[in-house]
Symmetry: C2
Subunit: 346 residues, 2 copies
């Protein structure tokens, strides 16, 4: 018998899906990217699904229900964006334990609807059920893109520029802060304890209310830029870079001094005595877009607000490395979030 | 605060989805049918999703993991068939508690793949995660049908014939049998207890390994029969009939002596001292197709193996009624399965 922890999520998925051969004419891309891709005439349709379980993916101690719904929807919308597609439909399933009231479920849906409204998505179906255990949310999101315009992980070429939107590590530091305040609260040492979140709004919002890069996708389309490879940063930049390098058969160089980091993230890192570069590389849940474009598109990228060029693609033999401020090369390793790791290993 | 049990599943869904207005051009049919319907050129694409939770939808005491996977896939495939569509793609999410080994998860997937192979479906994506609580399976299934050929619940017309495939009540009696043997086993009264399932294979298979009516959909297409309304029988015939009557604004007459019931179901009913007609009307999980066709299609239906005409559609004022063997009319009421009811109320 093999323990699931021994394999980890990615190898478990590999083991479970290695035998699949796509049979239907409409099935274009199967397991292994941010979304599956189907073709119908001049449209490609992408589909992604996420299962969110209480105690694993969210902690109701510090997650307001409306935020939970919002985030659950947004992370799926983000996966659709990561294919260069426009998010269009959503199916929402929810398993509800007895301790919830109708009004609380309505709060979750209010968050889902808010995210969908922002991203132009229609909720078209779903499933509701009682749950004997915790709260369970499963979301499937569909999106549309012109035929053959969906961007996979596998198209990055040598000399391509590596771009990332927004900034990195903030959602992770938001989580650290929430977890710290929860520990203090639960220890009961400080009677009448009220968490102090003043000045920390940005990192908390990044953790509790992430935004998918719908506007970036629109802009890329307007400027007629088709990235060669793209993913969203959910498990951490390092992990996503390695996915792109592996799928594309290339290497990469990313520059430490180019990593976009917000002041609030740096300040919180300092307070926690953590290494800022490690946090930017490995902190998950940023839901920014990581993409590669041919060098020739360099000029077009200039007008694209919030997009940072952080490095370039190399040949495979060069491996994936971070070039530090002092010019050293450090191999990039994935320390991405692993839901199957035991708590003590995390 | 409103208890969810007060509302029940259907009214909860109504409350959560009443404000939705579809915005995207591709969104054709939203919440309220077996599947959502999207349009892409000359194809309509249908999508359905189901969330299956341990202890609510399945009991691992008597459900082999491969059967569980098979059934989880088939019930979604059945929803696609219920739209008159050909099932094509599936996304599979699974939340796994620590007590499971890789080999056990592979068993679940083996069942899913077997069902998909039978129905011609490609598994194109999904999600895997650890679970702190029970086993969780969420499946989304897509299907295709020619534009405007998807069949909703809302098209039944007065004088239409009401048809149902296969037979009714067997899955429910299979469940009763499994639950009885479980109780005997757990009571520990009978040392060395071995459940006796001889002669009960059919009803057990109907519960543990249901089949979607993929062939019926193919046949209807070959014969160019487009039903006016269609659903699959998952909550029980009564419940589904009422859905069609409500959505179509019609009434119905169904004849007790026309209800298709297998001998094994009748025999088990006898053993349990249960009313056979009640079981056929209200037992869920048959995954047969219930559909209506214009009276003019009567002849074409003759060649359709395993399809039974059980009644006809009436005007709305006539209500929905069962005509008993002795010619009495009994109002049809939904006693369909309600996952939100407390155990003692069931």
């Amino acid at each position: 018998m093999t323990q699931i922890q021994e394999l980890g999520e990615f190898r478990l998925i590999d083991a479970l899906t290695e035998c699949i051969e796509l049979q239907n004419e409409s099935s274009k891309v199967g397991v292994g990217d941010d979304c599956a891709v189907m073709n119908y005439g001049d449209k490609d349709v992408v589909a992604t699904t996420d299962l969110l379980l209480e105690g694993i993916h969210f902690d109701l101690t510090y997650t307001p229900l409306k935020h939970l719904g919002y985030k659950a929807a947004m992370v799926n919308i983000s996966d659709v964006c990561a294919m260069n597609a426009r998010p269009t439909q959503m199916l929402v399933s929810i398993g509800i334990s007895q301790r919830f009231h109708v009004e609380q479920i309505e709060e979750i849906y209010a968050g889902i609807y808010l995210a969908c409204e922002k991203a132009g998505v229609d909720v078209v179906g779903g499933d509701t059920s009682a749950s004997l255990t915790g709260l369970t949310i499963s979301i499937t999101c569909l999106g549309e893109v012109e035929k053959d315009r969906a961007v996979l992980r596998s198209g990055a070429k040598e000399t391509d520029l590596i771009c990332v939107t927004g900034d990195l590590g903030a959602a992770y530091m938001g989580l650290q802060l929430l977890e710290r305040e929860k520990r203090i609260f639960q220890s009961g040492q400080d009677e009448g304890f009220q968490p102090d979140f003043a000045g920390k709004e940005y990192i908390l919002e990044r953790q509790l209310k992430p935004e998918a890069c719908v506007d970036t996708i629109k802009y890329l389309r307007e400027k007629n830029i088709v990235p060669t490879a793209m993913m969203d940063v959910s498990d951490g930049l390092s992990s996503e870079l390695l996915h792109i390098c592996k799928a594309s058969g290339v290497g990469c160089r990313v520059y430490e001094d180019k990593l976009p980091i917000d002041y609030a993230t740096a300040s919180m890192c300092d307070e926690f005595n953590m290494n800022l570069t490690t946090v930017a590389l490995n902190g998950g849940e940023d839901y920014e877009l990581l993409f590669t474009v041919p060098l020739s598109e360099h000029e077009k990228l200039q007008g694209l607000e919030g997009v940072h060029i952080i490095g370039h693609i190399t040949e495979a033999n060069a491996g994936a490395a971070l070039v530090t401020r002092d010019g050293q090369e450090m191999k990039i390793t994935a320390q991405g979030w692993n839901a199957f790791k035991r708590e003590e290993e995390k």
